[in-house]
Amino acid sequence: MSVLGGAVSGVPPAVPAEVDERASLELAVERSTTFDDLFRRRYEPMVRVAFLLVGTRAEAEDVVQDAFARIELRWARLDNPEGYLRRCVVNRCHDVLRRRRLEQRFLLLRRDDTSELQADELGDALAVLSPKRRAAVVLRYYDGLREREIAEILGVRQGTVKSMLHRALAQLREVIER
């Protein structure tokens, strides 16, 4: 099945203005949760995000468990545990991809052949994106984050996220149409 839609804009959908208010509310709610609440609520969704980033379920769970362990240790000092969780997961996924890339260069593999996502043409296309672009796409279009939030997680400016998403979409389209 083709994942190409009708109009190809390459521009992320606009984010409504009331999101900042919603973000403040979410943060206030989050401060009153416990670690186990966060674990029950966010464990599976974060494994799915990590799965889209690293492409294997086992490594995705490993990354997310690692992130939760670090959060448990810092729990009392975290203002925004969920934001920290996302940042840890994305950073650890980058470590996994970096290690895998080094191994694959040795094995002269052209692209990420370890991914369980390959059965799908979008999975194939995601695998050729750089780790940061891949993270930007997954956080925006799967996790539904705003560009500002993605910028914080990836440690880049908001304008950079916009341009990363634009280029990633163009690259995905190119790979899928090839």
Partner: protein, 353 residues
């Protein structure tokens, strides 16, 4: 690509992944957190700059001998340790600093090495051969059986099924469940053949048989090596402790098309061995050299980069990653590493952060 279609498709790819927040997952997180907490407590237990030997002691001597038989400190750190992070850069006549800074915590990359050693971590290396054959073995309690990953080959590890992968010309990774217990072992090697790796792993006798998850304080992880395809000694792992100081200092430099990243990390023998094992897992050529009167390893990476790594003091290590350089130039570059005073470092950060 239409973003709405992309959104829908990503959900179809990922929403089938079932990973409920089970008690098994919660326990695994708790175990990892305990390991991290223990490491932090050890680091903070003694005042600035002191070094204690936290021996990975039981079963230290492969040949049943005392600790004195064990290889100490193969890369020769300096003897002074003030507790503060050192600062180094490359000769300013040739290299231009393009960024410098310091950060309160270890990098995620360093942290991932730390987790690699969740459970026990042992290193076996040929005596007096810092660049010689090496096997790094981690052993942890885990409910899950080891499963094959893409590119793995199935091998027999003394009756247990192991999964072996070649990660570089002379590097292998082998994972298995020793003695059918609730544990997982991972061996990464450099300079050993595939047969030697499997033989060595087959001779690793767990210090405790039939370990059940979850682990207790009395659980004894780790191995005693009984089969040595080449002469290997267990390296005594020395863990430095001290007051928390800035965790990482980093300098980025450029010289024409050549770039260098200097990473100064807090971390003693264990952190050094973990990082070194990670670099060796994808290594090409490996040589011994000297930097600032200390022994250093020069490790070729498959992406054309070179890593120069050494223990600068008992509680700090330095890695210089070089890109765009010729092999023939590296000894010269190693000779251009310069140590900075505290004031010089402050000025450098002030100018480039």
């Amino acid at each position: 690509m239409n973003p709405l279609v992309l959104d829908d498709h990503l959900h179809r790819l990922a929403d089938d992944v079932a990973a409920p927040p089970s008690s098994g997952a919660r326990q695994a997180i708790g175990r990892r957190a305990r390991v991290l907490r223990r490491r932090r407590q050890v680091r903070n237990a003694v005042g600035g700059g002191l070094v204690v030997v936290a021996a990975v002691a039981t079963g230290l001597a492969l040949r049943g001998g005392p600790a004195a038989d064990v290889e100490m400190d193969p890369a020769g750190p300096g003897t002074t340790d003030t507790g503060a992070l050192p600062a180094v850069t490359l000769d300013p006549d040739e290299w231009t600093v393009i960024g410098a800074g310091e950060y309160p915590e270890a990098t995620e990359e360093s942290a991932s090495y730390e987790l690699w050693a969740e459970g026990s971590f042992q290193v076996f290396r040929a005596d007096d051969e810092p660049a010689g054959p090496t096997a790094a073995v981690s052993h942890k309690v885990a409910f899950d059986p080891v499963v094959a990953e893409p590119l793995d080959r199935e091998v027999d590890v003394d009756g247990d099924t192991g999964f072996l992968r070649q990660t570089a010309d002379e590097s292998f990774t082998l994972r298995w469940n020793p003695d059918h217990g609730d544990t997982q072992a991972q061996l990464t090697s450099w300079g050993l053949t595939q047969d030697q790796v499997v033989e060595f792993a087959g001779g690793l006798q767990p210090r405790e048989d039939g370990i059940s998850a979850p682990a207790t304080d009395a659980t004894q992880l780790g191995f005693v090596a009984t089969q040595l395809p080449v002469p290997l000694d267990e390296v005594l792992v020395v863990t430095p402790v001290g007051q928390p100081q800035p965790g990482v200092r980093q300098v980025m430099l450029r010289s024409g098309k050549r770039t260098a990243e200097v990473m100064i990390d807090r971390g003693g023998e264990e952190a050094y061995e973990l990082k070194r094992a990670a670099l060796l897992a994808t290594a090409g050529d490996v040589r011994v050299t000297r930097v600032l009167d200390r022994l250093a390893l020069l490790i070729e990476q498959p992406d054309g980069q070179w890593s120069l790594i050494w223990r600068h003091t008992p509680s700090t290590m330095i890695t210089v990653t070089l890109a765009g350089v010729e092999r023939a130039d590296i000894d010269d570059i190693a000779g251009r590493v310069r140590e900075l005073t505290t004031d010089q470092w402050s000025d450098l950060v002030g100018d480039h952060s």
